[in-house]
C-alpha cells in the first residue's frame, strides 16, 4: 500500500492504494466516483474509459500509479451541468437504454470530437469500435456524435 494523491476532475484525492490497483477501482472504491464502470477488466469493452491528461484510456488496465501527477477526468467531471455537446446530443437523441456503457461511450466520443471536430462515419468507427453496447444503441451513437459536432461548431462560432 502507498499513499498517493490523484487529481480527479480538478479535485485532489489523497488515497491509500496498492500502486498496482487499476485506476478504475481507485476511482470507484477509493474516490467514490461511481460513474466510471467496470465491464470486462481486460480493455475489451470501453465501459471504463476516462481521460488521462486529455487522452482516452481504459482505466481497468491502467495502473493507478500511472495517474499520479496527471489530470484524470471522469464522466462526473466532463462538464459542470451535464452540458458538454456530447452529453447534450446524447440527451437530444435519447441514446442510452440501460445506460451502463454510456459513461465510456461519452468519454470516448468527447476525445474524438476534440481531435476531429467534424468526424466522418469512418472516424466514428475508428474511435468508437472499442466501446461495446449490449443494448445495441450504435446507430444512435453515430447520429448523436454528428449532432454533437454540429452543436460544438455553433458554440465555437457563437
Amino acid at each position: 500500500m502507498a499513499k498517493i494523491t490523484l487529481n480527479i476532475n480538478n479535485k485532489e484525492y489523497p488515497l491509500e492504494a496498492d500502486p498496482q490497483m487499476p485506476l478504475l477501482w481507485a476511482i470507484r472504491d477509493l474516490a467514490g466516483l461511481k460513474g466510471t464502470k467496470y465491464g470486462c477488466g481486460v480493455a475489451q469493452c470501453g465501459a471504463c474509459v476516462v481521460h488521462l491528461n486529455g487522452e482516452a484510456v481504459r482505466s481497468c488496465v491502467t495502473k493507478v500509479s500511472r495517474a499520479v501527477g496527471k489530470q484524470v477526468v471522469t464522466i462526473e467531471g466532463l462538464s459542470a451541468t451535464n452540458n458538454h455537446p456530447v452529453q447534450k446530443a446524447w440527451q437530444e437523441i435519447d441514446v442510452p437504454q440501460c445506460g451502463y456503457c454510456h459513461s465510456g461511450q461519452i468519454m470516448s466520443a468527447a476525445v474524438l470530437l476534440r481531435e476531429k471536430p467534424d468526424p466522418t462515419d469512418q472516424d466514428i468507427d475508428d474511435a468508437m469500435a472499442g466501446n461495446i453496447c449490449r443494448c445495441g444503441t450504435y446507430l444512435r451513437i453515430r447520429k448523436a456524435i454528428h449532432l454533437a459536432a454540429e452543436m460544438q461548431k455553433k458554440t465555437s462560432q457563437g
Binding site: D18, D29, K37, A47, C98, A129, R134, G136
Partner: protein, 718 residues
C-alpha cells in the same frame, strides 16, 4: 429526479412531502384480474397496506412508484408517461421512485415477458384518471359549482366559465377525503397529449453524467467487497482450498467456503471479502481450490447436439399441438421436406456484470441490486435462509442490462449468505469471467421440421424440438411438453394448416438454463420461419404471398402490406438478396425484411433491415424504435457470432476477447415502422428479435442459394 428506492415509512419525509397527500393505489381482491382503486382510508378498511402508486402533495408535486425494473427497456419513462396523460400533469413534474419488492402491494413485479406496459397500462390509466376526477370534484365543491364546468390541465383544475383555477397542491387535502369514483371515463386515443408521442426519456440525463445508480454503484456504510471463486463446472462443489497467498494480499479480510442456490441445486465456491473490489479480485485469483466434480456429467457442446439430433430421429416426443394427420400425410407423400435446424446456447452478456449488496441483520435482511424478479428473490431467500419474507427487503437499482439473467436468485442469495457470515454489509462483484462462464444460459435447441405442400399450400406441417426446458429448472413437470413450443409461431397458422403437429422431446443436461431475450421465440422463430421459407419455395410461391395466403387475419395482412410497401418487396428482382420472416412474441407481431449483397472481399454484407412492429397500443414510439434497434443488434450477434461452447462440463469463452460482441462497425441501417391500430398493448422489449435471424438467412438463400440451418454462421465466409 430521484432514483433511490425508498420505503413507505421514509417516503413522505425523503420526498419532501408535507401536509396532506392525495395517494391512490390498487388493491387486488383475491385473485381478481382487474385491480380496485383505493385511497389510504379504504386500504385500511380492506385491511391491506396501501401501495401508494401515485402521490400528490400540497405543493402539487407528483411522485409515482415504478413497480418494474428499469433495465433499458424504458419502464422509467413509460409508467410516468401513462400516468401524466390521464392525471393531466406535465411529464417533467413527475418524480419517479423505484418500488421495493412487495408483490402483495404491487402485484407481479417480475420484469419479464415484455409485460411492464401491457400488464399494467389499463390499471394505471384508470388510477390516474380517478385521481384527476377527485381533484376536479374537490375544486368544484370549493367553488360551489357543477364539476361538469371544470376541467384539469397542466396540474391545475380550471373553472371554464370564470377562468378561476386551483393548482393540484391546493386541492389534495380536500380530495384525499373523497371516496374514489367507481367509474371514470378514459380519454380516447385521438385525444392523447403525451401517449403516442416520442417524448424524451426521464432517465437519460442520469445516464449521461454518471449519476444513475446501478447495482454495482450502490454503496452503504461499512460495506465490504467480495469476489467468489466458484466451481468452473456448472454444478460443482468445493473439496478443499488453500488461501495462504490470498491472505497475504493487503485488504483481504475473510476467506471462506460459500454455497449458493442454482434453482433446486447448489453451486459452491470460495468467497474472498476485502476492503476494495480490487483486493477481493486479487485474492480470488490467488486461491488454490480443489474441486469436487462428481455426481453430474461433464458435457461437451457437440455431445449435446448429437444427442438432440439422435432424439429427433428416434423419438416422437410430447404433443404440444396436434391436429389432422400430419404424420400420415408425410409418410405417404411422394415428396416431402425433412430438415434440421440447430440453435446454440447463448450468454446474456449484460454490460453490468452480476453483483448484489446484502446486509444481514438480526431482525432483517436488506438487499440492493440490479434485480428483475424481486418477489422470486424474496421467496427463495426466505425459504433458503429461514427469514420471513416480509423481512427480506428488496431495493431496486437501475439495471445495466438484464435480458433475463437478472431474473434469477443465485447472486442475491450468495451475497446474503456472505453478509450473514461476516456480520457486515457486503457487495459481491462477479468478474466478467464469472458472469460469462457460470450460466444460466439460453438453451441450445435442435429442431426437425417435416412438411408437405400441394396446390401451392401447406398440406402437412410437423415440427419437433429437442432442447432444455427452462421450466424444468423452476420445478416444472417433466412429463408435459414445453409450454413455449409454439412461441414465435403465428397462431393463425394453426387455423389454416389442417394437418399440423408441434412436438417437444424432453431433453435434459446438467447445464442450468434461463430466459434470454424473447425466450423460445428466439430459437423457434429461426426454425419455423426458415422452414416456412423452404415450404414457400417448394410450393413455388413468393415467401410473403405464401404467408399471407396462410394467415387469414386482417391485422396480419396489413402488416404484410406494410412490409411490402416499405421494403419495395414487390419490385425486387429475383436473386437480389431479399429475405423475410414474421414472428409473434409476447402479444406483438413483428415482420422483418433483410436485404443482403455479396461483400467485395467475399462473404455477405447486410445492406438494409426493415422492421414492421405491430404492438397494438403503445406509449412512446421512440422507445419502441429503440427497443427494436437493440433487438436487431442482439439478434445479429446471436445469428452470426454467439455460441456458448462447453468442454468437459465448463463454458469455454470467458470474456469479450473471445465471446465477441457486435460493434458500431457491424451495424446495418435499420428502418422501423410501427403499425397504428386500437388493439391491446403487446410487448415491446423483446418481440423485435426473433424474426431477424431467419429473415437474414432467407435473404442469404435468395442471394446465394445456400440454406443456412445452423446458427451461428459467419457473414464473412458464408
Amino acid at each position: 429526479m430521484d432514483n433511490q428506492t425508498l420505503s413507505r415509512r421514509n417516503f413522505l419525509k425523503t420526498s419532501g412531502m408535507t401536509g396532506a397527500v392525495l395517494s391512490l393505489g390498487f388493491y387486488w381482491p383475491g385473485n381478481a384480474k382487474s385491480a380496485k382503486i383505493v385511497n389510504a382510508a379504504e386500504a385500511q378498511n380492506f385491511g391491506v397496506e396501501m401501495n401508494s402508486w401515485v402521490h400528490i402533495d400540497t405543493s402539487g408535486k407528483v411522485t409515482i412508484f415504478d413497480h418494474r425494473a428499469e433495465m433499458g427497456q424504458g419502464s422509467y419513462q413509460a409508467v410516468p408517461q401513462i400516468v401524466a396523460e390521464e392525471l393531466e400533469v406535465n411529464l417533467n413534474e413527475i418524480n419517479v421512485v423505484f418500488a421495493q419488492g412487495d408483490n402483495k402491494k404491487y402485484g407481479n413485479q417480475v420484469t419479464g415477458g415484455s409485460s411492464t406496459v401491457r400488464g399494467s397500462y389499463k390499471n394505471l390509466l384508470k388510477l390516474s384518471a380517478t385521481a384527476r376526477e377527485m381533484l376536479i370534484q374537490a375544486a368544484a365543491a370549493k367553488w360551489g359549482v357543477d364539476k361538469a364546468e371544470c376541467y384539469a390541465e397542466g396540474g391545475n383544475v380550471i373553472h371554464k366559465p370564470s377562468g378561476k383555477r386551483f393548482h393540484y397542491g391546493e386541492l389534495v387535502d380536500a380530495a384525499s377525503k373523497l371516496e374514489p369514483p367507481k367509474e371514470v371515463i378514459l380519454k380516447k386515443r385521438s385525444d392523447y397529449k403525451l401517449i403516442g408521442k416520442p417524448l424524451r426519456r426521464l432517465d437519460t440525463p442520469l445516464k449521461t453524467n454518471g449519476s444513475a445508480i446501478f447495482g454495482l454503484d450502490k454503496e452503504i456504510p461499512g460495506m465490504m467487497y467480495a469476489a467468489v471463486e466458484r466451481n468452473p463446472r456448472l454444478r460443482g462443489k468445493v473439496k478443499s482450498f488453500d488461501d495462504t497467498k490470498t491472505r497475504q494480499i493487503p485488504g483481504v479480510k475473510h476467506v471462506f467456503k460459500v454455497k449458493m442456490g442454482v434453482f433446486n441445486t447448489y453451486r459452491e465456491g470460495v468467497a474472498v471479502v476485502a476492503d476494495s473490489t480490487w483486493a477481493a479480485i486479487q485474492g480470488k485469483k490467488a486461491l488454490k481450490v480443489e474441486w469436487d466434480d462428481t455426481g453430474f456429467e461433464h458435457l461437451d457442446t457437440e455431445e449435446i447436439y448429437k444427442r438432440q439430433r439422435e432424439a429427433l430421429q428416434t423419438q416422437e416426443g410430447l404433443a404440444f399441438k396436434k391436429q389432422g394427420e400430419p404424420s400420415e400425410i408425410i409418410a405417404k407423400a411422394a415428396k416431402k421436406i425433412d430438415v434440421t435446424y440447430e440453435t446454440p446456447y447463448q450468454y446474456h452478456a449484460a454490460m453490468e456484470p452480476l453483483n448484489c449488496v446484502a446486509h444481514y441483520q438480526d431482525d432483517k435482511l436488506e438487499i440492493w441490486g440490479p434485480i428483475q424478479a424481486p418477489e422470486w428473490v424474496q421467496d427463495y431467500i426466505s425459504k433458503e435462509m429461514s427469514i420471513p419474507k416480509e423481512k427480506v427487503i428488496l431495493n431496486m437499482t437501475f439495471l445495466g442490462g438484464g435480458f433475463g439473467r437478472k431474473a434469477f436468485m443465485d447472486y442475491p442469495h450468495e451475497a446474503s449468505v456472505i453478509s450473514k457470515e461476516i456480520k457486515a454489509p457486503v457487495q459481491v462483484v462477479w468478474t466478467r469471467e464469472d458472469d460469462a462462464t457460470q450460466g444460466p444460459f439460453r438453451p441450445g435447441i435442435t429442431y426437425r421440421c417435416e412438411g408437405v405442400v400441394s396446390n401451392g399450400a401447406i398440406d402437412a406441417f410437423k415440427v419437433k424440438m429437442a432442447g432444455q426446458n427452462n421450466a424444468h429448472w423452476r420445478g416444472g413437470k417433466k412429463d408435459v411438453p414445453n409450454g413455449s413450443a409454439s412461441e414465435g409461431f403465428l397462431k393463425p397458422y394453426m387455423d389454416s394448416i389442417k394437418n399440423l403437429a408441434i412436438m417437444d422431446i424432453p431433453f435434459e443436461t446438467p447445464i442450468p438454463t434461463m430466459w434470454w431475450r424473447s425466450v423460445y421465440a428466439s430459437t423457434n422463430g429461426f426454425a419455423y420461419e426458415s422452414f416456412l421459407d423452404e415450404l414457400a419455395l417448394e410450393a413455388g410461391k413468393d415467401p410473403l404471398e405464401f404467408r399471407r395466403a396462410h394467415l387469414k387475419e386482417e391485422r396480419l395482412h396489413k402488416l404484410i402490406d406494410k412490409m411490402e410497401e416499405v421494403s419495395g418487396w414487390k419490385n425486387r428482382k429475383k436473386g437480389e438478396g431479399f429475405g423475410t420472416a414474421i414472428t409473434e412474441c409476447f402479444a406483438s407481431t413483428v415482420g422483418h425484411v433483410v436485404k443482403v449483397s455479396k461483400a467485395p472481399n467475399g462473404g455477405v454484407k447486410i445492406d438494409q433491415v426493415w422492421v414492421v412492429m405491430d404492438c397494438g397500443w403503445y406509449v412512446n414510439p421512440d422507445t419502441v424504435r429503440a427497443q427494436v434497434e437493440g433487438s436487431v443488434v442482439m439478434g445479429l450477434g446471436a445469428a452470426t457470432i454467439h455460441e456458448v461452447k462447453f468442454k468437459d462440463g465448463m463454458a469455454v469463452d470467458s470474456n469479450f476477447s473471445t465471446y465477441q460482441m457486435p460493434r458500431i462497425t457491424d451495424i446495418p441501417p435499420i428502418e422501423i415502422h410501427i403499425m397504428e391500430n386500437d388493439a391491446d398493448a403487446g410487448g415491446v422489449g423483446e418481440p423485435g428479435l426473433p424474426a431477424f435471424a431467419p429473415a437474414l438467412t432467407n435473404a442469404i438463400f435468395d442471394l446465394t442459394g445456400k440454406r443456412i440451418r445452423r446458427l451461428p454462421f459467419s457473414l464473412a465466409t458464408v
